[in-house]
């Protein structure tokens, strides 16, 4: 099998810095974790918050702390620092090679989607962001790694796309039509979801948007790990 992870990420229109931070870290006992945080508001302040949260979580995961405990610790740290005045959403998607599962941790009102073949499940249970109060609990979902599995995670910039002109995005429907295609790559899925959202915002995203897609394939090739990052730089743009 092969686990493929793809990310597409864009800044709020005319903002040089994204409030979303996404990083990938190796787990000390094998596998890796993708950590995605979205700090309240946008621009430099939001970036500092989401970077602080991601850094905290990654540091703990690297020490072998479990995902849920890492999320709680980051929430406590944020609450202590900001007294509940600043919040930050968090998603962790971990490939755990010991248990052969993908562990999804969510402190984010935005739902996640889990797709297998024709079946598209929306995981939309109520979930609160980090830093909103003491004792914030993450929602944790554990899914066996098997070929055909597709997981879609995103920040609220996607959820709110199109609202400005009264045409909010229907993520579930968009996903269904994308999956009708011949086995789309995770990057194609992430790119298409993002493009749909940006289009609904008249190409001027109303918020930072990050889309993460994980796909498990039955590919049985070499044992090479691969990573590609593509970073547009134009003028003084940062993300």
């Amino acid at each position: 099998m092969e686990v493929q992870i793809a990310v597409a990420k864009v800044n709020k229109y005319a903002t040089s810095e994204s409030g979303d931070t996404l990083e990938v870290v190796e787990r000390p006992n094998g596998g890796l974790s993708v950590v995605l945080a979205d700090g309240q508001t946008s621009g430099r302040g939001a970036k500092a918050i989401s970077q602080m949260v991601v850094r905290k979580v990654i540091g703990l995961l690297a020490e072998g702390v479990r995902d849920g405990a890492a999320a709680r610790a980051a929430s406590d740290a944020l609450f202590t620092d900001k007294q509940g005045k600043v919040i930050c959403t968090l998603n962790i998607a971990s490939l755990d090679l010991h248990s052969g599962t993908i562990v999804l941790t969510r402190n984010n009102p935005s739902p996640m989607f889990v797709c297998r073949g024709e079946q598209i499940d929306r995981l939309g249970e109520e979930s609160v962001p980090l830093g909103i109060s003491r004792n914030v609990r993450p929602l944790i979902t554990e899914i066996p790694v098997e070929p055909g599995l597709i997981i879609v995670v995103y920040t609220d910039g996607l959820t709110h796309a199109g609202e400005r002109r009264g045409q909010p995005i229907d993520v579930s429907e968009t996903l269904r039509s994308l999956l009708d295609d011949q086995s789309p790559s995770p990057q194609a899925l992430a790119d298409s979801l993002l493009a749909q959202a940006v289009g609904l915002d008249d190409n001027r995203p109303a918020d930072d948007i990050s889309v993460l897609v994980i796909k498990v394939t039955s590919r049985d090739g070499d044992n090479v790990r691969r990573m590609t990052v593509r970073l547009p730089i134009e003028g003084n743009r940062r993300a």
Copy 2:
């Protein structure tokens, strides 16, 4: 312009864990850094060392510490911990959007290559790994970001490929023939260099091998950041 980063990474034959650790981190003032470390020997012990070094460096970079200072700090920490008995190579490649440059930091006897058009420069000045003594100095090279620039960085598994059967790889020559092709993608370059090395080792790599390729293109498309990770999982394989 667009900066594209590609990595291809394989474990030593019959080893479940790579002694090489590679991570990407956002820089607090814009841009990102790729940090690659290769711990002495292979397997679990080497992994712990290279992870410790990468974690130390990434933590410092995230605080805004400059690359050279981060490398020195990691070396001092390793020397203090292991009294010079364990060493670790380090390469940092940073895209600094403020200065518009790529900053290459090297504590690794293995050279790097910088290519522009037909010109292939081998940066092979003597450089010692971290942890070998007090006051280890990194070599730092700063290169303006411009379309056509290609940078190739790797761990010594590539350098030593083929030595077992007396046919060591000629990285410079391999690179020249690859660059003769019609503008190869950085992933194609990394994959081809790795495949060449693995082939010379009779498909049983004698060491962990990591290849990092950075390419600057004049691509003027959307402002979307993209990332793809591909992780083969077969049996209990970890990397």
